[in-house]
Amino acid sequence: MDWGTIINNTLAGLLTPTTIAFALAALGLAMHFGFAGLLNFGIAGFMAIGAYGYAISVLTFGFPWWGGMIVGIIGSILFAILLGVPTLRLRGDYLAIVTIAAAEIVRLLFLTTAFTDVTGSADGLFGYNNSGGFTSANPFPPGSYGWGPWTYNSETLWVLTFGLGVLAVCVWFLWALMRSPWGRVIKGIREDEEAIRALGKNVFAYKLQALIIGGIFGGMGGIIYAAFANVSPGVYVTSITFFIWTSLLLGGAATIWGPVIGAVIFWTLQAFLSNILPELALAGILPVSGTQAATLRFVLVGIGLMLLVIYRPQGIFGDKRELTFVK
């Protein structure tokens, strides 16, 4: 049992671009579900649109990296409007089904060979960070930074810094909005739309705004992920949406820091499990094979989500009194 590597990899999982990307997506979902009460099960779709919007603008249209990112954000906004206008009046569980279907349609459109020139279909897209100049925009000179498990080369450090910056802005954004009168209306809508309508507020507009804001956060999550890795339709499957939901509920759905902390804990746990389980299998402690051990960690995610919702739906930081989906 190589404890050294296990602990090292686990601690590294605390701060990776993937963690930041997920924290952003969870933040978006906090806006949608935690605060506005919208059951958005299509958050993977927003991430995909952000990522593909960025990569395609750079590769096919020759945009600079920051232009590509703006396109990704605009794409998320448009998707939110397209999704929201017809569906925001639907009941909770129906909205869940519609958003899953919408995200699947997005993924299938990116996967189809019909558009392979632009989307790369199953192969995905890569190389856009270089051609778009994101890697050239790196202010850190080449070398090794950090210490211990948090050692990065300059490219990763750049993505991390950029990602953290974006995350900080988004967290502030969410906090500032939710403590304002706008946030108050959103919380009211979450609980009882009719009462809010009776007080003269345009409920539909507020919900759409919340959907857009959360969508922008999700899109940024996809962009950060793309800035670090490649863009591939196999990433934006419904399982990813469920992992983001788990991260959000773990941290606390209706809180500002909950989604961030939840995502960090989720990915650190994943890093831990993906290291320790195969080791346990190899060492013979667990009577399973190496590949089976890797599958076990997803089983644990599923069980974890169920237990979380049954026994502690408010997560770590949440207030049970504030949750509408808990009866």
Binding site: L90, G92, L108, F298, F325
Partner: protein, 433 residues
């Protein structure tokens, strides 16, 4: 109230079982060794891809992967996919054996041999999408009719899976996202019985259905009933079903791995019926079994007391409970029936694809939701009609849009129904917003 009465339903069911078994025996007589469309799964890395001609997947095409110290070959499955595990991260040459392509197709863009490099990732994809081949001589009408029949076949199978979901929703209000796993469960049970334990297939399949029924029983007894008693809201229950779906999916992957397995006799010969309609023997059996199962189910729902109680609860749970119906008991039976039908559809889906994969149920979950929503959430016959429509839509849409987008049509229908007619074709008008 004694509603499990002995009498006509039991005799009818016996007849169903006999007919059913006869069909299965016929199926079991066609046994041939399983064809693998993937090799070398013990390695950490893989080269994989698809072979398609004008968007249509092609089976039986030979692919060879050659590397510095390793060579392997495989034949594509009926869905056109192939996978060759490789031991090291190197540059490999992927060659498509053109002689195994269907007649008339020869030229490949980029050549029949191409290089791939397993740079940073564990897997690399090499697809052979062949554009121009021979002009298709089949008339549009013939193609349409063929697609219609395939769609009905698919729709019948989907219908078996859908009624269960609809009834569970109708009686308990739960949108069960783990339903796809109940489908996979049936297929896996048949796999374990029929292949691993080498039980004859005509015994394995009914046994798999019965085991699925037991699985459904345990779901309600172990999880859903206690949660209902605890008073959890439907949103909470829905999210729990999502967690359950994840758990079950990966438990299944834990046991059968990430590859595709086949049930015995999956490779049955195609029979040219008429026009360009060519159905395999399996397809015919599948349709037959589906119809018999649906008739049996219809009888249960319409004639037996439990069936009537189920419809009563779906319609008005409070009134049903107030008139003395034991709601818990009926809900338990609904779960059993739902799981049995889902398990059966899983077996049929395994023959249709063909192949058993850990996420095969998840693949069609959204289609099942589309069928149920279209028909009307909570109605059983609506779900069947919805499934037929979805099946036909999915198959015929590939005449107009690229075939890898064929599920999009069904998803668009799903969204459209919820937007414009949320009660579906046969549901009650109730507030959905």
């Amino acid at each position: 109230m004694n509603f499990l009465f002995v009498g006509n339903p039991k005799r009818f069911l016996k007849l169903v079982v006999v007919v059913f078994t006869a069909l299965i025996i016929g199926l079991g007589l066609l046994v041939s060794p399983a064809q693998a469309d993937s090799v070398g799964e013990e390695f950490d890395h893989a080269v994989l891809g698809n072979v398609k001609i004008k968007g249509e997947p092609v089976g039986g095409v030979r692919i060879v992967v050659e590397g510095p110290s390793y060579t392997a070959e495989v034949v594509t499955g009926d869905d056109g996919s192939w996978l060759i595990g490789v031991p090291t991260k190197d540059t490999y040459t992927v060659t498509l054996d053109q002689e195994t392509l269907p007649a008339g197709i020869a030229v490949l863009e980029g050549g029949a041999s191409q290089e791939v490099d397993l740079g940073l990732s564990d897997r690399v994809v090499k697809n052979f999408f062949i554009g121009q081949g021979e002009r298709n001589e089949v008339s549009f009408f013939d193609q349409f009719v063929a697609r219609l029949i395939y769609g009905i076949n698919f729709g019948l199978m989907l219908g078996l899976a859908s009624v269960g979901l609809s009834l569970v929703f109708g009686t308990t209000g739960l949108s069960n996202f783990a339903h796809g796993e109940m489908v996979t469960f049936g297929a896996v049970a048949a796999l374990i019985l029929g292949v691993v334990l080498e039980v004859p297939i005509w015994v394995a399949i009914p046994a798999a259905v019965i085991i699925s029924a037991g699985f459904g029983w345990s779901m309600d007894a172990g999880l859903w009933k206690p949660l209902r008693k605890k008073g959890l809201g439907i949103v909470q229950l829905m999210i729990i079903s999502i967690g359950l779906s994840l758990t079950l999916r990966y438990i299944i992957q834990f046991f059968i791995g990430g590859g595709t397995e086949q049930l015995p006799g999956f490779d049955s010969p195609k029979i040219n019926l008429f026009g360009s309609v060519a159905l395999s023997v399996n397809d015919l059996y599948s349709m037959g079994i589906s119809i018999v199962a649906i008739l049996a189910f219809a009888f249960w729902l319409l004639r037996t007391n439990t069936g009537k109680a189920t419809r009563a609860i779906s319609d008005n749970p409070d009134l049903a409970a107030a008139s003395g119906i034991d709601v818990d008991k009926v809900v338990r039976i609904v779960w059993i029936v739902s799981a049995a039908l889902a398990g059966l559809s899983g077996v049929l889906w395994a023959y249709f694809r063909p192949g058993i994969k850990w996420d095969m149920g998840t693949q069609i979950l959204l289609l099942i939701f589309a069928a149920v929503t279209l028909g009307g959430l909570g109605t059983a016959f609506g779900a069947l009609i919805g499934a037929l429509v979805v099946g036909i839509l999915v198959e015929t849409s590939s005449l107009f849009i690229p075939s890898d987008l064929k599920y999009v049509g069904a998803l668009v229908v799903l969204i459209g129904v919820l937007l414009f007619r949320p009660q579906g074709l046969m549901g009650r008008r109730q507030r959905v917003g």
